[in-house]
Amino acid sequence: MTDLIRNTAAETAQAIAAGDVSAVEVAQAHLDRINAVDEKVHAFLHVDTDGALAAARAVDAKRAAGEELGPLAGVPLALKDVFTTKGIPTTAGSKMLEGWRPPYDATLTRRLKEAGVVILGKTNMDEFAMGSSTENSAYGPTGNPWDLSRIPGGSGGGSAAALAAYEAPLAIGTDTGGSIRQPGAVTGTVGVKPTYGSVSRYGLIAFSSSLDQGGPCARTVLDTALLHEAIAGWDPMDSTSINAPVPAVVAAARHADVKGMRVGVVKEFGGEGYQAGVMQRFNESVELLRSLGAEIVEISCPSFTYALPAYYLIAPSEASSNLARFDAMRYGLRVGDNGERSAEEVTALTREAGFGPEVKRRIMLGTYALSSGYYDAYYGSAQKVRTLISRDFDRAFGDVDVLISPTTPTTAFPIGERADDPMAMYLADLCTIPSNLAGNAAMSVPCGLAPEDNLPVGLQIIAPALADDRLYRVGAAVEAALNDKWGHPLLEEAPAL
């Protein structure tokens, strides 16, 4: 049974298609694993045992009937609790939505079901995806499987932890400022923020609509690519969905060759504030890519140092508007309705009770940035920075095929260390935010353990919009070379749970 949970998604799908194992056996092995370890890890907010087994039985029935199975049919997946699932609790990590059972599936949920993917349950996250540690969940923190006293990243810490704890071979995250890539980096797993608009946001509970992007997470680059192809594509239900072919990411993941590629090292990311072991593994990755035949160029993107402040104006501004929908009238929490109070009073009491401190901070910060006296200085200036960041990317991609940097400045920090220090917490997304502001594609792939704490370090790869395939080519090359060097995947060095 152990192998069933350690296999890659690609291996599992092949074994099911070949009849070596049933989808039900695979699902049961993962449900057993969740039962065994999730009390410690707390990756899941809800485990849908019946739904998972029913989906697995349907795959087995299809195979028995001789129907063709898709490339991920029967493979279990952990779904971030920010995508709606019809009839299955969806909370976005908030008390505001405790017990809510959505009446519809997100497009992404529907696509997963149509691909025969077995959804095991919903994963823990920072409330409304606001955070970098999953400590802002209203339902308690998630532990990093490498060291349960440390954060698994955020906001998608539950999804990344589920992968690293072998509770699921595939997971879904959303990335508004790094919420797929940063958890990937600190848990030694792979995560991709696809090009903005390439994965539907229909049924994704909105945080910052011009930045939010769902994406794939897995333990290997190829598995991530297989999931990417399953979820990406135009959706008429999302007016910001791109009507363009999905880049051939699976083919790219199988073509792990960087010979002749031009790789730009972002000069602004590194130095002060970056952990020594993170920079050591990053610099080794640069040399590794050079040894594999890539041409390394240093690239300066001066506006990137303004990305973090711009993001913390733009994202809260959009959030303050998006979260206005939680008004206690149509769904979700309602408190204080005693027959005397007005609707407005009930709304304010409900939002006070239903939102956690980080969500309140961001709603008020956004309200402040958008208020008439400050609009030009804050929100208006941030929008101009967004233009400058896109220009820096355009100039860089005129010269190189991809850009690289560390994914995060440090490895996983202890739970509680930055919990009440918002600015310290925000620094975790320093390197990941520019890609959200520009809407391009980016990946985090493991590149070793920091020598001082033996915790995973992520390499970030950034590609132009709609060139997501380049991430997979470079990521697969790094992964293959490092697995060769170590003799095994990085995650095998994680302590047993």
Partner: protein, 98 residues
């Protein structure tokens, strides 16, 4: 830039429909000040001639055909309502008595 006072947090909370507790006001004032100090840097490089970007995609007015399509039933929609009555959302009073 002026600092964010306790009174200003109270005002922002009212605009944001958050019934903050008294002890939250000071704590948030301090934290919001730190954040606003840090993010105010954006104005350093936001020159007059730089156009703003509100969205990564150059989309305007994405339309769909105006036709009847299947949708949720009233029962499905109202199933999650905090209170419902006669196939409608039941809400607290919106207009005052006087």
């Amino acid at each position: 830039m002026p600092g964010i006072t306790r009174e200003e947090v109270a005002h922002l909370a009212r605009l944001s429909r958050l019934e903050l507790k008294s002890e939250e006001l000071d704590h948030f004032a301090e934290q919001l000040n730190d954040i606003v100090d840090a993010v105010a840097r954006v104005s350093e490089i936001a020159a007059e001639d730089v156009p703003p970007t509100s969205h990564p995609l150059p989309l305007t007015n994405v339309m769909r055909a105006d036709e009847v399509r299947p949708s949720l039933t009233p029962d499905e929609v109202l199933a999650a309502a905090p209170a419902a009555e006669e196939q409608r959302f039941r809400v607290p009073q919106i207009l005052g008595e006087d």
